[in-house]
């Protein structure tokens, strides 16, 4: 594999991790806001 391909191969994982982090965090805060609006606990 070329250096460019190896670099992309190594660095793609932190990018995917960041995307998953965004998805989970967005869902968490939406649920938190909804629970507060309804006067309920999240768990």
């Amino acid at each position: 594999m070329s250096s460019f391909a190896l670099s992309a191969y190594i660095l793609m994982w932190p990018v995917i991790v960041a995307i998953v982090l965004f998805v989970i965090s967005r869902a968490f805060f939406r649920e938190w806001a909804e629970a507060r609006r309804n006067g309920e606990g999240m768990i």
Partner: protein, 586 residues
């Protein structure tokens, strides 16, 4: 790089980080703490948690310190494909279990443990087999996480291993003890944010700090042809293949997964499991890439101990602030799994031992259950700390337990779909699988002659069973049979005469095949049909039972009042071994 000095934190800094982490998680857990906790909430948070928390919790629980260390070790040992052969298959464990998870929730929407469902399906022997294997697995996992914490703290601070183990054990117990599973899943969100955020920053930082991509050119000679090959057969046979065989076994045998399966809203099972699959895979493979970078750099971990690889890479290339983030990442990873193990163990003792076998579901007192759950956490922590001092080989123990779980996979899954599976078929199939697995795994019988041929044939059938079950979850019985048969036909020419040489792999595969063949053979002629609707009736909330009502109204119900045999519904048949038989059998 041999002999490179690693940066260390002072005692004050490490204490500060531990107080910050465990103090913070404890304060967070107090936000949801109730003066009077609910037994069902303590085990499954009311079966109704949302996507954000459940996906975070599933991801955090499945990522533990050992998975990061092992992935990096795989990258360092097998080269550029190494982290894939660790992280991808681990991630698929989550993905492949979700269709089965949907089925399990549909027949037992309010259950707490898989073993509890097995009690409702078959009776006591199958329940105790599953619960026993869950307990062993969770204790090993707990011990492993404490060991990882002790090693990390001793490596990066003046504190020794034992002090590190005690600090981690006390910290995890502190925030989990009162609210149980509810505290575990809430703190998992914070921990997963810390872990994922750390990986998103640390891996690119080390990449640049270690002079990549230029080091790909200068360090290319450090790799063997196999290590430089993305399709390395060595990496597949020695790392990937045994993990593929364990994909379903770990998901079935691990109560931490089942607990989250029963906790999440039923409609959110699929997005939760898919997100956790991607999150786990990317995180673990990403950390594993540090092992690949170390290989290119010619980095030598001190003492040749590959467990030192990640901490020493971090200590070498990260500035103090990011090293502190790395420290929190590892502590977060091991703590999130350890608190899940404590919650799993407490649920098993509450629901399976006390709730189903001591008092019976209807007479179980939720307050006594809570007391048992909390005592279990304290005792399990003490046991894991004690075992940690023995410094057993964690990887060997996990591989062994994983193969043991392989014997349970087909009987457990078939019990949720096939009305013909009986308690006797379940029990005998698991026991016979273990009877073949043990001599194969530990080479008690020479595999040079005829027995080797038998092992090869059984292993090939095991390949068909594993792949067939994976396909069955998504596509149903017919495609599963086709894939299973094709797998056997295609594998046979290569595997006959050689598969028995891989004791770990063939041991796991024979566990699958023997349990499947025996379970099928003992069930196929059975004329009785189980009514799956019975399971939902037998696995409802404990807090709704008559003892719960008594406890609430009288405020002091005697814990053991009425302790005895489980109450039977009219029409329940009596099994010779004392187990309840399904009312719906006909």
């Amino acid at each position: 790089m041999d002999g490179m000095e690693t940066a260390q934190f002072s005692a004050v800094v490490v204490l500060g980080l531990l107080v910050f982490f465990y103090g913070g998680t404890f304060l967070l857990s107090t936000r949801i703490g109730k003066k009077t906790e609910n037994a069902d909430g303590y085990m499954t948070a009311g079966n109704n948690i949302g996507f954000g928390i459940s996906a975070a919790s599933m991801t955090a629980t499945w990522i533990w310190a050992s998975s990061m260390y092992a992935s990096a070790t795989s990258g360092y040992t097998y080269g550029i494909s190494g982290p894939i052969h660790y992280g991808l298959w681990g991630a698929l464990m989550i993905l492949f279990i979700y269709p089965f998870g949907k089925r399990i929730r549909s027949v037992a929407p309010k259950a707490h443990t898989l073993a509890e469902v097995m009690y409702a399906r078959h009776g006591r022997s199958s329940q105790l087999m599953l619960a026993g294997s869950n307990i062993v697995g969770s204790l090993i996992s707990l011990m492993s996480n404490f060991i990882a914490g002790g090693v990390l703290i001793s490596l990066l601070s003046p504190f020794n291993f034992t002090q590190g183990v005690f600090a981690v054990a006390a910290g995890v117990l502190l925030y989990t003890l009162w609210s149980g599973f509810r505290a575990s899943v809430l703190t998992d969100f914070v921990q997963v944010v810390a872990m994922l955020g750390a990986v998103a920053v640390i891996v690119p930082f080390i990449f640049v700090a270690a002079d990549f991509p230029a080091a790909f050119e200068t360090g290319a000679d450090n790799l063997t042809p196999q290590q430089g090959d993305f399709f390395s057969s060595e990496a597949f046979m020695e790392q990937g293949a045994p993990y593929i065989a364990a994909v379903l076994a770990y998901a079935i045998g691990n109560q931490t997964i089942a607990q989250r399966l029963f906790a999440v809203k039923q409609s959110l099972i699929k997005p939760t499991f898919v997100t956790a699959t991607i999150g786990y895979g990317a995180m673990v493979i990403g950390v594993g890439m540090l092992g690949v970078l170390a290989l290119y750099l010619g980095f030598e971990p001190s003492g040749g101990d590959l467990n030192n690889l990640i901490p020493e890479m971090a200590a070498t290339y990260l500035p103090p602030a990011l090293l502190a983030v790395f420290f929190i990442m590892i502590i977060g990873a091991l703590s999130s799994t350890a608190d899940s193990d404590l919650s799993a163990l407490s649920s098993i003792m509450m629901a399976d031992v006390y709730g189903q076998n001591v008092t019976g579901k209807e007479k179980a007192n939720p307050r006594t259950m809570l007391l048992i759950g909390r005592l279990t956490m304290v005792l399990a922590t003490a046991a894991a700390v004690a075992f940690a001092s023995l410094q057993l080989s964690i990887l060997d123990l996990l591989v062994f337990v994983g193969a043991l779980w392989g014997a349970l996979v087909f009987p457990v899954l078939a019990s949720f779909y096939w009305e013909k599976v009986t308690s006797r078929a379940f029990t005998l199939s698991v026991l016979s699988a273990l009877a073949v697995f043990l001599p194969v795994r530990f080479s008690w019988i020479s595999v040079d002659g005829f027995f080797g041929l038998v092992v090869d044939v059984l292993s090939i059938i095991g390949v068909g069973v594993v792949l067939g079950l994976m396909v069955f979850g998504f596509l149903g019985a017919k495609p599963a049979r086709i894939v299973g048969a094709l797998a056997v036909v295609l594998t046979a020419p290569f595997a006959i005469g050689s598969l028995h040489e891989y004791a770990t792999l063939s041991g796991s595969l024979v566990a699958y095949s023997v349990s499947t063949v025996v379970c099928w053979a003992m069930s196929v002629g059975n004329n009785e049909r189980f009514d799956f609707a019975v399971i939902a009736e037998r696995t409802g909330d404990f807090d709704d039972g008559s003892a719960a009502a008594t406890a609430l109204s009288e405020d002091a119900a005697p814990a053991a009042a009425g302790a005895g045999t489980p109450r039977r519904r009219s029409g329940d048949a009596e099994d010779p071994d004392g187990d309840p038989q399904p009312t719906g059998s006909k």
